[in-house]
C-alpha cells in the first residue's frame, strides 16, 4: 500500500534536489511548529545520506519529531533555509535545504555511460 503524502512532514524533490515540507501534513495537526532544529553536523557543505537524521520538528506541545533524509536525498548541502516561515507550513511547502548532485552518484552515472 502506498504512503499518503501527508504521512511524512518532508518530501525530497530529486529534480530540483530540494527537501521540502509537506503542507498537508502540518495542516492536519492542531498545533504549531515552534522551530526546526537542525542536527549539529547539518550545515552547508556537509554530505547527507538517505535515512540520516537531519533535524527535529519542535512542536508547540511537548513533542519533538525527527526529520530523516528520504530515499534519494543524498549529496552535499549547498543551501539551508535560514528563514523558515513556520507560520506558513500548513499553507504551502517550504524548502528546507538544497543539495548539489553527489560526486559518488555522478561517478556511478559516468561509469554507466562509459559502458560499450
Amino acid at each position: 500500500m502506498s504512503r499518503n503524502l501527508s504521512d511524512s512532514p518532508v518530501v525530497y524533490d530529486p529534480v530540483n534536489r530540494e527537501l521540502r515540507t509537506v503542507s498537508d501534513y502540518f495542516a492536519e495537526k492542531e498545533e504549531e511548529v515552534l522551530n526546526i532544529r537542525w542536527e549539529d553536523e547539518i550545515e552547508e557543505g556537509a554530505e547527507v545520506e538517505p535515512n540520516q537524521r537531519l533535524a527535529h520538528i519542535i512542536w508547540d506541545g511537548a513533542d519533538q519529531e525527527p526529520i530523516d533524509a528520504p530515499p534519494e536525498c543524498a549529496g552535499v548541502i549547498v543551501w539551508i533555509n535560514g528563514q523558515i516561515e513556520y507560520e506558513k507550513l500548513d499553507l504551502r511547502p517550504e524548502p528546507l535545504l538544497r543539495l548539489k548532485a553527489s560526486r559518488r552518484r555522478t561517478r556511478r552515472r559516468s561509469r554507466r555511460h562509459e559502458r560499450p
Binding site: 492542531e30 498545533e31 504549531e32 515552534l34 522551530n35 532544529r37 537542525w38 519542535i58 508547540d60 506541545g61 511537548a62 519533538q64 535560514g82 528563514q83 523558515i84 516561515e85 513556520y86 507560520e87 500548513d90 499553507l91 504551502r92
Partner: protein, 563 residues
C-alpha cells in the same frame, strides 16, 4: 488659526507619531538567518488597531469633517474600509487563532461604542486558543481622544445604532465579560472566581453589570495543573472618574515542555496605558488620550507585587502596552523604565502608531539602550500583524526574539488569490462608490459629510449585491429581505432611490436594513463573496494610504488603457 491647525494635527495624530531613535548597542546582533536555538515561549500573534467603526452614526461636528480628515487620514476612512475592514481581523483570528494565542494591543473600537466592542468580541470569540488585549485610547475614550458627556452631544450621536458610549469603566466590564466567556483553564478559573460560570450567562451585556468594581485575581493551584495562558487580572472601575479605571493582566507564554536543562518561564504583563489621573480632553493635547498614555500608582503597585512574588531565576518578562514608550507621560515613562529594569527586560511591545517599527530608546550610543517593538495596524495600510516568540541561542545562550512582520495583503494574495483581478469589482473614479477624498468633502458641515459617506456606502452595497446575487429560488417572503423588497433587482432599485433621497435618517435606516440583509441572505457563491469583501477592503486601505487610486511603489503590474 495656524496654532489651532498645528495643535489639532498633533492631537489627532496620536496614531501616527514618529520619534528619532538612537543606535542599538553593539551587544545586540541582527542575524539574517536563524541561529541554532531552542524555543522558550509559545508563539503568540500580535495584532492591533483594527478599530471597529460604527458606520451608522449621526453627524459628528469638527472631528468627522474634511478639516479633521485632512490633518489625520484615519478620521474619515473610505467607507469600504469601515464596512469590510474587519474581515481582515476575522480572517486572522480564524486562520491563525485556531493554533496560536492572540494578543491584541489595543484600539479594538473607533468611536468607543458598546456596539463596536460587541462586534469586536464576536470576531475574537473565534480564536480557539484564546485571546487577551491591552486597552487602547479608543477603548473607553470618545474617538480615542477624551472623556465627555455620555447622555447628549457627539458621543451618543457617534454611537447611534451601535449601543451606547463605552466609557473606560464600561470597557473594563465588557472586556472582563469577554474573558469569562472564553474556554481554557485561565479564563474559566476567572469566571468561577467571579461566580460567572453559569450556563444562563452567555452574553456580554448580561455579564458586564455583574463584574465587581474591583478585583485582583490570580490563577492558583486550586485551579488545577492545566497550562493557563491567563495568569492574573487586576482591575478597578471608578464610577466617578471612569478615566481612572484600568485592567492589567499577566499572561504565561511559557512552553509546556522545554529541551533546556533547567526550567524557563516567559511571562508578559499587558499594561493599561490608557488610565488617566485627569479627565482626558481634546485640548490641551498633553491631556488627550490620543497623544499621551499614562498609568497610575494603583496599577503600578499591583504590577510590582506580581513581579516581586514571582521567581527571579529562570523567568523572562515582557512588557506590553498600547501607547509607545515615547508618548507616555514623564512619570509613566519613569515607572515603566523602573519596571523594565526590575525584570531585566530590554523589550517593550506597543502599538498605536499604525506603522510598525522598531524603536531604540536611550542616549545616542549608550550601552544601556533598549528596544521597543511597535506593531502596525491590521486595518490601515500596510495591514500588519506579527507573531512573536522567544528562544535561547545554542551559542552563548542569548535571548533571541523572532518576530517576522507579515501583512494581510501578502497573505491573502498568496493563499486566497485576493484581491482578485476582476476589473469590475473595483470602484473607479467617477463610480458612485469611488473612495471619497478631501476634495470631495470640501466643507465643514458634518451633516453633509455623512450624507456623502452614506451615499458611497449605499453604492458599495449596490456593487456587493450586483456581483454576489442572492441564491436563486429564494422565496419572496423569506425573512432576510428588507421590508421594501422581495428580489435583488428591487433592492438595487431601492439603493438608487435612497442615493437620490436627501434625508440622512432615511439613508441610515435603509443601510441598517441592508446590513441585516447582507448578514442573513444566502448567496449563490459564498466563497466569491468572501473574496469580494476582502478585495474591497484591500483596495480601500491601499488607496487610502496614498489618498488616491494609484499604484504603490511595489506594485508589479499596470495595464494601460486601449488607445
Amino acid at each position: 488659526m495656524r496654532f489651532c491647525l498645528v495643535a489639532l494635527a498633533i492631537l489627532l495624530a496620536g496614531c501616527s507619531l514618529f520619534s528619532t531613535s538612537p543606535s542599538l548597542p553593539g551587544g545586540y546582533l541582527i542575524p539574517q538567518s536563524e541561529p541554532r536555538s531552542t524555543p522558550i515561549s509559545k508563539r503568540i500573534y500580535l495584532v492591533a488597531d483594527n478599530q471597529v467603526h460604527n458606520v451608522y452614526n449621526e453627524p459628528v461636528p469638527l472631528l468627522r469633517t474634511e478639516f479633521a480628515d485632512k490633518l489625520v487620514q484615519t478620521v474619515i476612512r473610505p467607507v469600504q474600509l469601515d464596512f469590510y475592514g474587519q474581515d481582515f481581523l476575522e480572517w486572522l483570528v480564524k486562520s491563525r487563532g485556531k493554533r496560536s494565542l492572540i494578543v491584541h494591543l489595543g484600539d479594538s473600537c473607533d468611536f468607543s461604542c458598546t456596539g463596536e466592542f460587541k462586534r469586536f468580541s464576536e470576531i475574537m470569540s473565534q480564536a480557539k486558543k484564546g485571546w487577551v488585549m491591552a486597552p487602547g485610547n479608543h477603548d473607553g475614550f470618545f474617538f480615542g481622544n477624551d472623556h465627555r458627556d455620555v447622555d447628549k452631544g457627539d458621543w451618543p450621536a457617534a454611537c447611534s445604532n451601535a449601543g451606547e458610549p463605552m466609557t473606560k469603566g464600561r470597557f473594563v466590564r465588557l472586556y472582563l465579560a469577554a474573558l469569562t466567556l472564553q474556554e481554557g483553564p485561565g479564563y474559566q478559573a476567572l469566571a468561577r472566581h467571579l461566580a460567572l460560570d453559569r450556563s444562563d450567562l452567555g452574553d456580554l451585556e448580561q455579564i458586564a453589570p455583574l463584574i465587581p468594581t474591583q478585583g485582583n485575581w490570580r490563577y492558583g493551584e486550586e485551579s488545577g495543573n492545566d497550562h493557563a495562558f491567563l495568569r492574573a487580572v487586576s482591575w478597578r472601575i471608578d464610577r466617578a472618574h471612569p478615566w481612572r479605571s484600568f485592567v492589567v493582566q499577566e499572561v504565561d507564554m511559557s512552553r509546556d515542555a522545554s529541551e533546556l536543562p533547567s526550567p524557563v518561564t516567559v511571562r508578559a504583563i499587558l499594561l493599561d496605558t490608557a488610565q488617566y489621573d485627569m479627565k482626558p480632553v481634546l485640548f490641551p493635547t498633553s491631556h488627550n488620550a490620543g497623544v499621551t498614555g499614562e498609568l497610575l500608582d494603583d496599577q503600578l503597585t499591583i504590577v510590582k507585587s506580581w513581579i516581586e512574588s514571582g521567581p527571579r531565576q529562570g523567568r523572562f518578562w515582557l512588557l506590553m502596552g498600547h501607547h509607545p514608550f515615547g508618548s507616555l507621560t514623564g512619570g509613566t515613562q519613569k515607572a515603566v523604565a523602573d519596571l523594565r529594569k526590575s525584570v531585566k527586560t530590554n523589550l517593550y511591545v506597543s502599538a498605536h502608531t499604525h506603522a510598525g517599527q522598531f524603536i531604540v530608546h536611550g542616549e545616542d550610543r549608550d550601552e544601556d539602550n533598549w528596544l521597543e517593538l511597535n506593531v502596525g495596524s491590521i486595518l490601515d495600510w500596510s495591514l500588519e500583524f506579527r507573531p512573536l516568540q522567544l528562544l535561547i541561542t545554542d551559542e552563548g545562550e542569548r535571548l533571541l526574539l523572532r518576530s517576522p512582520r507579515y501583512t494581510m495583503h501578502e497573505w491573502l494574495r498568496e493563499f486566497e488569490g485576493v484581491p482578485t483581478n476582476d476589473d469590475e469589482w473595483e470602484a473607479k473614479p467617477g463610480d458612485p462608490d469611488y473612495y471619497l477624498g478631501h476634495e470631495d468633502l470640501k466643507d465643514l458641515d458634518a451633516h453633509d459629510t455623512e450624507v456623502r459617506l452614506k451615499n458611497v456606502l449605499l453604492a458599495a452595497h449596490g456593487r456587493l449585491l450586483g456581483f454576489n446575487r442572492t441564491q436563486a429560488g429564494a422565496a419572496p417572503d423569506a425573512h432576510f429581505w428588507p421590508p421594501c423588497c422581495k428580489s435583488d433587482e428591487a433592492v438595487l432599485e431601492e439603493i438608487d432611490r435612497m442615493i437620490e433621497d436627501h434625508r440622512l435618517d432615511r439613508k441610515t435606516e435603509f443601510l441598517l436594513e441592508l446590513d441585516r440583509f447582507e448578514r442573513e441572505r444566502p448567496v449563490e457563491d459564498p466563497e466569491k463573496r468572501r473574496k469580494f469583501r476582502l478585495s474591497q477592503a484591500i483596495w480601500a486601505s491601499k488607496y487610502d494610504s496614498v489618498h488616491l487610486r494609484k499604484p504603490l511603489v511595489d506594485d508589479l503590474f499596470i495595464i494601460f488603457p486601449k488607445e
